[in-house]
């Protein structure tokens, strides 16, 4: 808990040189996490409702990022593999749902089936490619997963063509909540956030209470030692890899109705997911969660408050975090 308080005070300290402005007294009045983000609060005519709506948008984006990033951080934390193909898994998930929707016409059935397929794909890749490389240099794994990206992208083109598709929002979730006189918020987006929370809670439970979780925690804190204790054998790794792949795929599936399904959708999410897990500390699921929320909020508010620097903001944030804590927020010092 003490660490957490320390984190926020230092962030406020970091913020000052960047947004030094006499008018931004707001940070002093707002609780920790909102400080840095609301520093532009009085600079622009943004009323409190809009501010809250943007927080909602940021948190929802953060949830989506967490889904993708948690798989990535799991795979790295336990297996030590930098999986560049993670974005491709996200894309495959989305295309699978599109394809299955054409057959079943039911989003929930499609997602369930698609998760099963993703698990099999993940398992197959681990068994037939990645498992040969555990004793090799990390760079070989990077190269291998890069090769996988090329193959997956091309397979997508062969199987589904280059059109973009949309996936229908299920009838039951097609309504919306009125936020302001002009703006409504779709139920489906709330549903996504809810599902992400479920996954986060599920992971919290698994990591805190189960044997697999114990291995994951051990792996994140000291991978070599964990391996030396004989944990690395076969099926644990296979299980983790296919779970990670399924998580990325699930993000693509559940996001498909709002994001549409299009070629190259995985590339965009890949880099930002890496940013998330690096900020949070690689291997730490808690870190991935905090990192995802930070990026989600920073990106959302950055776009509105500092449009000229919008694209740079997430990278600035990452650079600042790494300058301050080279191992990320929740990473163990090397």
């Amino acid at each position: 808990m003490r660490k957490r308080v320390y984190f926020f005070t230092v962030r406020a300290g970091l913020r000052l040189p960047a947004f030094r402005d006499k008018r931004s007294l707001a940070p002093a009045l707002l609780p920790g996490p909102l400080c840095s983000l609301s520093s532009g609060y009085f600079l622009l005519p943004m009323d409190f409702t809009t501010f809250l709506i943007q927080v909602l948008n940021g948190v929802q984006y953060g949830f989506m990022l967490f889904l993708v990033a948690s798989g990535l951080t799991l795979i790295f934390g336990i297996m030590g593999i930098i999986n560049l193909a993670h974005g491709a898994f996200y894309m495959i998930g989305a295309y699978l749902v599109y394809w299955l929707m054409g057959i079943t016409d039911n989003l929930f059935v499609s997602i369930t089936a698609a998760i099963a397929i993703m698990l099999v794909i993940g398992l197959a890749i681990e068994r037939f490619a990645i498992s040969f490389l555990y004793h090799r240099d990390h760079l070989h794994q990077v190269l291998l997963t890069y090769g996988l990206i090329l193959i997956f992208n091309e397979m997508q083109k062969i199987l589904w063509g280059s059109d973009f598709y949309s996936v229908r929002v299920p009838e039951i979730l097609s309504g919306s909540v009125r936020l302001t006189e002009t703006l409504v918020y779709p139920h489906y987006r709330l549903f996504i956030s809810f599902m992400c929370m479920l996954v986060a809670a599920g992971m919290y439970f698994v990591i805190g209470r189960t044997k697999l979780g114990m291995i994951i925690r051990a792996g994140a804190s000291n991978r070599e030692m964990t391996r030396a204790l004989g944990i690395n054998i076969g099926w644990n790794f296979a299980l983790v890899f296919s779970l990670g792949a399924a998580l990325a795929g699930f993000a693509g599936m559940i996001g498909a109705p709002v994001s549409s399904v299009y070629p190259g959708m995985g590339n965009q999410i890949l880099i930002i997911s890496f940013v998330v897990i690096v900020i949070g500390g690689i291997g730490s699921v808690k870190g991935a969660f905090v990192g995802a929320m930070l990026i989600g909020l920073a990106d959302t508010f950055g776009q509105v408050l500092f449009p000229e620097f919008a694209a740079m903001i997430v990278y600035l944030l990452m650079a600042f975090v790494l300058m301050w804590r080279p191992q990320g927020l929740f990473g163990k010092p090397a």
Binding site: M46, D47, T49, T50, I53, Q54, N57, G58, Q60, Y61, N153, K157, G161, S162, D163, F164, Y165, S166, S176, R178, T180, T182, L183, V184, Y185, P186, Y188, R189, V258, S259, S260, Y262, P263, G264, M265, Q268, D299, T300, F301, Q303, V304, P307, A310, A311
Partner: protein, 402 residues
């Protein structure tokens, strides 16, 4: 690895044997054909077949091939060979790919690209040379028929200014006083928003916020909330391909569609009917084409395209189709002698294209002089409402040929 000997393009055409430089697969048919006849006309294609704009590349290619197939797969009496390269939307790769088509494949024409950054890189290389002739079937970068214009560079599509300017006019004409512009931050987006704003403010309106999103990001939520809090009368927007579908859906899902009227150059609703569905219904845009244009060429084209590809035609297909028409007219004029560049260029300059979009011809800067239509989406179709600008010509600022 094919390691072919250096040969000039002219010699290449005359000596069918020189075809040996091609890979076995692609050269097999032409070599056989070349016996006792002339070698095929070579058309290099540099378009995106992957990524956000893949649909555009495919529509253009399919329609161009369809048009040439309708003419018996012959150009000026000679067979045709297509050499297509996926541009991957990569600007750094553009010089290599262009050089490959020119120097390795010795093409007579280069058709491409979609992306304006690649167009600039290509125009830089090709404009300095006499051959080949470049035909831009989409990229609207004002510069291509502006400062970078050259005798051997033609465009069959539009300049970014063309469909955007009447869009701004329309917005003002329909009584809107304030507007927000939103687009991607790259050449096409910036230029179209500027043209729309110019026209809108000339008509008495006021642009209250200009939002530019890094290309090709599709996370619009924050900006939609911003628009909702600004409450303008209208929104003027350019997105294309997958991004357009996503924007329309998000705009509708945020409840803005019925409150703040959405306008834009027609790319916003072009080819996205299936993906955007109800979210696109009723939106008015301006473009050089509408699905329901009542002319014989359009009806025949739409039927033929549907039959050939199974898909409904869109403006990109029209542009590809017209590229085919232009090639046919030009090579007929020189009786297939693709080496007679000066005559070819002359033929292309005077060509009148009987297009599905209505007949048009080239301006002095080699950009179409064309009608811009007001269209509205109805049942997934771009329905014609009227003409926004008759025979509109791009100002071609900075072009030395004007």
């Amino acid at each position: 690895m094919s390691n072919m000997s250096d040969n000039s393009r002219r010699r290449f055409i005359k000596g069918a044997g020189a075809l040996a430089g091609l890979t076995a697969v692609s050269s097999f048919v032409p070599v056989r054909f070349a016996i006792g006849a002339t070698a095929p006309v070579k058309i290099g294609i540099l378009l995106p077949y992957s990524g956000t704009y893949a649909m555009l590349g495919n529509s253009i290619t399919d329609a161009m091939k369809l048009r040439i197939a309708q003419a018996g797969d012959k150009l000026g009496g000679r067979a045709v060979e297509y050499i297509a390269i996926d541009s991957e939307m990569s600007v750094p790769k553009a010089p290599t790919n262009t050089n490959k088509l020119i120097k390795k494949n010795n093409v007579d024409f280069i058709v491409g690209p979609v992306h304006s950054g690649i167009a600039a890189a290509m125009a830089k290389i090709i404009g300095k040379r006499k051959t080949p002739i470049m035909i831009v079937p989409n990229a609207g970068s004002n510069a291509v028929t502006g400062p970078l214009c050259a005798p051997n560079i033609f465009r069959t599509s539009f300049s970014n200014w063309q469909p955007a300017y009447p869009g701004g006019e329309l917005m003002a004409k329909e009584g809107h006083k304030t507007a927000v512009t939103i687009s991607w931050k790259y050449g096409a987006g910036i230029q179209m928003m500027a043209a729309g704003k110019e026209a809108f403010e000339k008509g008495g309106g006021k642009v209250v916020r200009e939002i530019l999103i890094p290309f090709p990001k599709v996370n619009f939520q924050a900006h939609l909330a911003e628009i909702a809090s600004l409450k303008p009368d209208a929104v003027f927007s350019f997105f294309s391909g997958g991004g357009a579908a996503k924007f329309l859906k998000d705009y509708a899902a945020a409840g803005l569609k019925d409150k703040i009227t959405l306008y834009g150059p027609g790319f916003l609703t072009e080819g996205v009917a299936k993906a955007a569905g109800a979210a696109a219904e009723g939106i008015k845009t301006t473009l050089h084409y509408a699905d329901t244009l009542d002319n014989a060429a359009n009806k025949a084209f739409r039927a033929a395209y549907k039959k050939a590809t199974g898909k409904a035609a869109n403006v990109f297909a029209v542009q590809g189709y017209d590229t085919g028409s232009l090639l046919i007219q030009a090579l007929d004029a020189v009786k297939g002698d693709a080496g007679a560049t000066a005559d070819l260029i002359k033929a292309m300059e005077v060509a009148v294209i009987d297009s599905p979009r209505g007949s048009w011809k080239m301006s002095k800067a080699h950009n179409p002089i064309q009608d811009i239509y007001v269209r509205q989406v109805e049942n997934g179709e771009q329905k014609l409402l009227g003409v926004a600008a008759k025979q509109l010509e791009d100002p071609a600022k900075g072009c030395k040929m004007v």
